[in-house]
Symmetry: C2
Subunit: 232 residues, 2 copies
């Protein structure tokens, strides 16, 4: 009865408890640079509503982030929970999961996103957003690079106009970043990466799906082989 498909369908319904999943989401929004250092998270009440979780759970999650020095909270009107300027290094990774699994899904999602985005007629705001992210990434320092890189790739996913695809890319990127945090980031790689970014964004803005896909594929293959090399 299709033994292998069962592994997918009968996988755990819950990745963890509500608390753990909430921590994970907030962590993602910070690590992927969606909420930048110095910026404020949505209020506890708003997060509770949007995440579909009680405010108590949100608070416990935020407390956990505070203890790990990711955020600080201030009371009073115009207070809130703010992302720290200096972020802790990620905890020494657990397991390298299934490398093939992560890289396969990432490539499928992101090359597909690039192609789809290039095939759409983008509004002025979207075009500006893409250019801004490209600029951000190319002028970024080494320490900020991973975050700015993720913001750029997320912007590409957003440009497809599919929320589900954006969510899938965010999830996939988070898993890939866990691996990438364990290999060194060198200046030459960064320069190369920037050149590839330029080509990806240009072909999307020019409405050239085939080139966008190919450029993204090459870009991803680059880091994929770096990973395969370092993690043996």
């Amino acid at each position: 009865m299709m033994e292998h498909a069962q592994e997918a369908l009968f996988r755990p319904v819950r990745a963890g408890n509500a608390f753990e999943e909430t921590v994970e989401r907030l962590m993602q929004s910070i690590r992927l640079g969606v909420v930048a250092p110095g910026e404020r998270l949505p209020s506890e009440r708003e997060l509770a509503t949007r995440l579909g979780v009680s405010r108590v759970t949100v608070r416990e999650a935020i407390r956990s982030l505070q203890e790990n020095h990711y955020v600080e909270s201030r009371r009073g009107r115009y207070g809130g929970t703010f992302v720290n300027e200096v972020l802790p290094k990620s905890a020494p990774g657990k397991e390298f999961g299934d490398l093939h699994d992560v890289l396969t899904l990432r490539k499928v999602l992101e090359t597909g996103a690039a192609e789809t985005a290039a095939g759409r007629s983008l509004g002025p705001a979207e075009r500006r957003g893409l250019r801004a992210r490209l600029e951000e990434a190319s002028t970024s320092s080494l320490v900020e690079y991973r975050r700015k890189d993720s913001r750029l790739h997320l912007a590409v996913a957003e440009a497809t106009g599919s929320a589900a695809l954006t969510a899938a890319v965010a999830e996939s990127r988070m898993r890939a970043n866990e691996l990438l945090d364990h290999i060194p980031l060198l200046e030459p790689n960064l320069a190369h990466s920037n050149a590839q970014h330029e080509r990806i964004i240009t072909s999307i803005l020019d409405g050239d799906p085939a080139t966008a896909r190919q450029a993204m594929a090459e870009h991803l293959d680059g880091t994929a082989s770096l990973l395969r090399g370092f993690l043996v």
Copy 2:
């Protein structure tokens, strides 16, 4: 702070409660044909373990499927919960969600899966599996077609060797099927579909990624335009 990516990251952490999600999973395994009519579901204890949910919750979910005449349970050794030969028609759909969203993600995932599968060296078992699913679908009756079609597409996803990708395809297909259940399935479409399936599987078995991707893209575009037409 990247307003749109927030929609993805701050989406609800839970699609529903444990009971609802469990029903959803079991339903998927039946509707996608992963467990065929007459076949037995894994035991309650095994499902509880694999789904990461208590046995009580599994039983409540199964009870719900019984009441809707999807399955019947028999006690005693060699008993279990069996999928009924005649399945109820799907409940009249709720909302058409975001059509663009569903179709975009489906196309990205499935064309990517086809390309990836074609780029791998498949084992004899996998090759046989793909041929078997193709045969199944092509000789299927109208009433069984959707299920057999899903089995074939899931087999393609499995052939990528990525569990995460297979899970994503299953999820996406389920959402697409909810829409497809509301449009008629006609003989000519079916014949056309079978021809496309043939081409997809052949190019995967031949190790031709570009053709596999293109064939899958055409196949999906066919049903996509059907959908867009019928649902206005």
